[in-house]
Amino acid sequence: MALLSVESLRKSFGGVHATRDISFEVQKGQIVGVIGPNGAGKTTLFNLITGFIRPDGGRVVFGGRDITGLRPDHVARLGIARTFQIAEPMNGLTVQESVRVNSYAREGLARRAADEVAREAVERVGLTAKRHVLSSGLTAAERHRLEFAKALASAPRIILLDEIAAGLWPEEQNEIARLIGECADRDGIAFLIVEHKLAFMIAVAHSAIVVNFGEKIAEGSPSQVLSQPSVIQAYLGSEVA
């Protein structure tokens, strides 16, 4: 049984078909990439899965349970974590506090235990030295790592990464890629990654789906899908990172 199963998901905003009959699966410990040009409907897909938007049709099944239309906080507590693209998520909180918020998503954790979970997640991403720094005082790469630590702290079974490599130098990208691989192999965490940096995608993902105009137009290994004519055409004019 697949960990996450998206079945014939549909969403329109007025006359715009943001998502047209998209179906795919993510297995436990699998890293699946979602690629496509801007406006293809990738973020809408994430919003549909995590409950920020209700679909017009189709289902989202997680761990055998229909989670279609559940509220985001409910989805989060069921074990789906998600990072956001926004630059400064929680300015007034320190790194430790920000991550501790997510620790409480695990059932029945007391203050001390939540603190410990947060500390471990912060250490995993290498931000221990900046634990008590306000989130607003971090560099872009550090903010991405903070988002990652938050995701880890909630003990997720799958993490949805929204352009986690954006604005990062190659060394920083490698570090994130290594972290993702480690979480998948060691902890069995699945990943669904939206990414524009295709080289990053090829390096990290086990398989990928390509989305254009709300439709899935290809599926397979990253290098496979990127050599398909329909995919190249969809990307015509955009640069490979």
Binding site: A76, M90, N91
Partner: protein, 320 residues
């Protein structure tokens, strides 16, 4: 206790000032500081919803009025001690506060629209009270002058009210300090920072916002009961005016929204500015405008140069 020295010094300084005033024997000073402590208390109560949870409402005068009216009415009609009556007022305030907050926030009202909606709720109460003859209508209700009767919340000397106001403020601040780093306080602050991110962290955003309003309503209502006993009267126009509504927030905003001591700093500083301006401008009514000008200029200056409030003077990057 790392990094706690500024807080300890501040509490010590304020306590020393209050104690000095207590023994000063000056009725004027005692009443003035009692008022300052009361403003700090209602500012602190507002700080729970606005500073911690980011719910910027302007309807807390509703709770002031409920707390004030219920205690006075229950005492006059049934002889119920205000020490008990305050809990009746608090219960009503919390219930209605939660209902209004839930409806408005669920509807997606935020920022200025939420301000208008909550202020409107207080005006609805105002117009309702003006029509209720059993509650005194526009004239309100007065308390009979009696001597010392602690159980009836009446004290022979002003000093007792000073002490009670100090305790009220202390309780509110202690509450805030205790929840701030615990789960609920942390959840509130996360919601303030970013609702979407907080939701994705597993927080039930609306529940937390309503919880913050409930806490705010509780402390504000009790402060309202104190007000009624201190003033020995209640009237709808005094309690539910725009002026009073602004008073529930201005000291907190100037002092530092989100900081536990913000309202205290704001209340003391702004009152000091107001009193100094009064002295400088003379006591004739011609000069009343000058006093307002100075007061207003200070507020504008702080808004421009210290947008995080006066507390930010104590050091950059202090955590909210």
């Amino acid at each position: 206790m790392r990094g706690r020295w500024p807080h300890i010094l501040f509490v010590a300084a304020i306590s020393a000032a209050v104690i000095a005033v207590y023994f000063s024997g000056s009725s004027r000073w005692i009443q003035l500081v009692t008022t300052v402590l009361w403003f700090a208390a209602i500012g602190a109560a507002w700080n729970i919803q606005a500073g911690f949870a980011g719910v910027l409402g302007l309807g807390n005068t509703f709770f002031l009025a409920v707390g004030a009216y219920s205690s006075i009415y229950l005492y006059n009609r049934f002889g119920l001690s205000p020490w008990l009556g305050m809990w009746v007022g608090a219960a009503i305030s919390v219930a209605i506060g939660c209902a209004v907050a839930y409806v408005c926030l669920r509807a997606g009202l935020r920022g200025i629209t939420y301000v208008f909606a909550t202020f409107a709720s207080s005006q609805i109460l105002l117009f309702w009270l003006l029509d209720q003859r059993w509650l005194g209508g526009a004239g309100g209700i007065r308390l009979e002058q009696i001597d010392h009767d602690p159980w009836a919340f009446r004290f022979g000397s002003d000093r007792a009210y000073l002490v009670i106001a100090a305790i009220l403020l202390a309780c509110t601040l202690l509450f805030m300090a205790s929840i701030r780093d615990r789960k609920w306080g942390l959840f509130m602050r996360a919601v303030r920072e970013n609702e979407k991110s907080a939701a994705m962290s597993g927080i039930s955003v609306l529940d937390i916002q309503v919880l913050a309003v409930a806490c705010s309503a509780l402390f504000t209502s009790i402060a309202g009961t104190f007000y009624a006993q201190f003033q020995m009267s209640v009237s709808p126009t005094a309690l539910l005016s725009l002026h009073m509504a602004l008073n529930t927030m201005i000291f907190t905003v100037v002092g530092g929204i989100g900081f536990v001591f913000g309202p205290v700093v704001g209340a003391f500083v702004l009152t000091a500015v107001s009193e100094i301006a009064l002295h400088l401008s003379g006591s004739g009514t011609d000069f009343a405008a000058v006093r307002l000008l100075i007061y207003g200029a200070c507020i504008i200056a702080i808004a421009l140069f210290l947008p995080s409030g006066l507390v930010s003077l104590a050091g950059r990057g202090r955590r909210q």
